[in-house]
């Protein structure tokens, strides 16, 4: 008997504004001038914060962090599509998404100064803290989605991951649960081409990461991750489908990590300068600037104005974070359990005695 084709698949690619500035007017989202300028300003703020943090890290004023330069469109465009009641579940490189969600810069800086307080996202925001182990946040997003579905709450969950995360078991388990239970979750994969040194081509033999969704029974699409309009449109539509009970989506944003994996990384060991220069031509911020220019929403005066605002904002946040030194190391015991058990009370008293003793010595 002849073999039959049981299933066949397409993986689509979405681009609204290409690197040369060509715009697909049919796909262009209907965003207000204020919204368009906010998108641009958020990307500019994320870029400037990233550069400032790199400099602070080199001066020893903050610890190791994962710069995001180059991925501003993928993060800002997707997070911008969320409602305040939706949930954002980040990995460890999502400072731009946090900025869109309104996390104070002070918190971002405090976390990278080694303070858990920076992870205490505001109560009114449904955002999880930074997640360090790769892909392990994805089952949490799925659980949140399952809970929201059980309670019939009309929210959706956006979870970020990188290209390397798609090789992890937790990615598989999370996608599989999301598909089986038709959950309102959107996975935004920032394919920045590298997992530290390991190139995208060695994470999987598959041509796209988007197509992995097909095996779990839901939609996957690839978008130009440096095209903020495409990222926004794809995420907006996926969130709407999620809230309409139509299940999850995997959005692969094809982008590039223009800088380091973390501040402890040296990309010169594993990638060519020519490649980096090629991607600089696709800078998401410059591309969107041209788009705004075409709409008379950008000029040098406005750029200077927001540059000054951003500089002041970052400067103020750094000053505030560095001034925030009044903390008690012995409160590390306070948040282990809701109620402190006796052995932790004893250990806390032990540490307090040590710290008290140290203070006396320094005063002497």
């Amino acid at each position: 008997m002849p073999r039959k084709v049981l299933e066949s698949f397409n993986v689509s690619y979405l681009q609204v504004l290409d690197a040369d500035g060509h715009l697909d007017r049919d796909l262009e989202p209907n965003l207000s001038p204020e919204a368009l300028r906010l998108l641009y300003r958020s990307m500019a703020l994320a870029r400037q914060l990233d550069l400032r943090m790199l400099s602070l890290q080199r001066q020893g004023r903050i610890g190791t962090f994962a710069p995001l330069m180059g991925q501003e469109a993928a993060q800002v465009g997707s997070a911008f599509a969320l409602e305040p009641t939706d949930w954002m579940v980040p990995g460890f490189r999502e400072a731009a998404a946090y900025i869109v969600r309104g996390l104070p810069l002070h918190s971002i800086l405090l976390y990278y100064m080694g303070r858990e307080e920076g992870n205490k996202t505001p109560d009114e925001q449904c955002d999880l803290p930074v997640n360090i182990p790769v892909a392990s946040q994805l089952p949490h997003a799925v659980g949140i989605a399952m809970a929201a579905k059980i309670r019939h709450d009309p929210c959706a969950i956006l979870a970020y991951l990188g290209d390397g995360a798609t090789s992890e078991g937790d990615f598989h388990e999370a996608c599989n649960f999301a598909g089986v239970f038709q959950l309102p979750v959107v996975f935004v994969c920032e394919n920045n081409q590298y997992a530290i040194s390991h190139p995208r081509s060695r994470q999987t033999r598959a041509r796209t990461l988007a197509q992995k969704a097909i095996a779990y029974g839901f939609d996957g699409l690839q978008v130009d991750g440096n095209d903020i309009l495409a990222v926004y449109v794809a995420t907006r539509d996926a969130l709407a489908r999620a809230k309409a009970g139509k299940g999850p989506t995997l959005i692969e944003c094809v982008t590039y990590r223009m800088g380091l994996h973390t501040t402890a990384d040296d990309p010169g060991r594993y990638r060519m300068k020519a490649e980096e220069e090629e991607w600089q031509k696709k800078d998401p911020i410059l591309r969107f600037r041209e788009y705004l220019k075409g709409k008379d929403l950008w000029d040098e005066t406005w750029q200077t104005q927001i540059d000054q605002e951003i500089d002041a904002e970052i400067r103020g946040a750094v000053e505030a974070a560095e001034a925030d030194r009044d903390f008690d190391p012995a409160d590390m015991f306070d948040y282990v359990f809701a109620t402190m058990p006796p052995h932790l009370q004893a250990q806390q008293a032990e540490l307090q005695a040590v710290l008290g003793g140290a203070k006396e010595v320094s005063h002497a």
Binding site: E116, D123, L128, P129, P139, A145, I150, V336, F337
Partner: protein, 326 residues
């Protein structure tokens, strides 16, 4: 009052908590239609529906990670991992996330969830089904670890675990699942986590144990009383983290002698911590070195050799005799 097995008592506790709190959901492999491989969740699907009794794909990290997400949202998930031996595939979710959410977010988030898992030896199970690796969880700050020993305590401890605001690893000793039976009142009872129980009082020696080992210990203790007239104080620890060391220390200060019995391997088993704490806090009360009767530091053998691996009455009795005659 009906006499229930531990399986029936846990089932009763789950049913009662699900009935009184709509946020309690049960999830895991085969927990719904099948009622669980040990039938602990039998009947829950019919009573509470598929939204709250969730048969999941076969994925331990997915089950635990999903439970964490549900807990972050405000539900109270009670997930079942079919055997403790399969928890390792979810261990990173417990270690890196469930245990840390409260501290790393300064209390903004917490994981009020229960992970139930059958554990321990003595039921002629296949490989990876007989281990006692509670130590991994005890060694993870932020997790609570509870091991019931009898049906009535299993029900009340489970109710307390579900109501607890922190993640609880609830280890159910399979050897005690169907015997002994015990009268369990219909009215919901709780038993505080972090509190040990003095099963019987005595002046000659303190015996500390938990889980199914309690029953083996009680037989050895009875024999010690009959043959030697020893009066042994037996402490059933019940919560291993945070453990009720005050009760243990007070008892040792009274008896001056202690034996710790557990199924887990000896090195870095929880007995080691109990001995260390007694040394730190009651050394001058001791009349003899503290003995440990434990599993050996070998991978748990298949069932033909299992009885040689597990502490038995003879080994416990010998440790009691040697400690008292020291």
């Amino acid at each position: 009052m009906p006499k229930l097995t531990m399986v029936q008592a846990i089932n009763l506790g789950l049913r009662q908590e699900m009935a009184s709190d709509p946020d309690v959901v049960v999830l895991g492999e085969d927990v719904g239609v099948d009622g669980g491989v040990f039938r602990v969740t039998e009947g829950l699907l019919d009573q509470f529906g598929a939204d709250r009794v969730i048969d999941t794909p076969l994925a331990e990290a997915g089950i635990v990670g999903t439970s964490i997400g549900m807990a972050l949202y405000g539900l109270k998930p009670v997930c079942e991992i079919q055997f403790l031996g399969f928890c390792y595939q979810a261990f990173h979710q417990l270690k890196s996330h469930a245990s840390r959410f409260r501290s790393r977010s300064r209390g903004r988030y917490s994981c009020s969830m229960v992970l139930r898992a059958p554990y321990g030896g003595g039921i002629r199970a296949v490989e990876e089904h007989s281990e006692s690796t509670e130590g991994f969880f005890i060694h993870t700050p932020g997790l609570k670890v509870v091991v019931p020993s009898t049906p009535r305590l299993a029900r009340s401890l489970l109710v307390s675990a579900i109501r607890d605001p922190d993640p609880v690893i609830f280890l159910e000793p399979t050897r005690a699942y169907r015997s002994p039976r015990e009268e369990v009142p219909e009215d919901v009872e709780t038993f505080p986590l972090g509190m040990a129980r003095i099963v019987q009082e005595g002046d000659d020696l303190t015996l500390v144990t938990w889980g199914a080992m309690l029953h083996t210990c009680l037989q050895a203790v009875e024999q010690a009383q009959e043959e030697h007239g020893f009066h042994i104080e037996v402490i059933d620890l019940l919560t291993l983290s945070p453990a009720d060391m005050a009760t243990v220390i007070a008892s040792v200060q009274k008896t001056g002698r202690a034996v710790v019995v557990h199924e887990a391997p000896r090195t870095l088993g929880f007995g080691a911590e109990i001995v260390a704490r007694i040394n730190e806090e009651a050394l001058l009360s001791l009349e003899a070195p503290i003995r440990r009767v434990t599993g050996y530091d070998v991978p748990v053998p298949l069932y033909a050799r299992e009885s040689a691996y597990l502490p038995n009455e003879a080994r416990i009795l010998q440790a009691i005799e040697e400690t008292i005659h020291f």
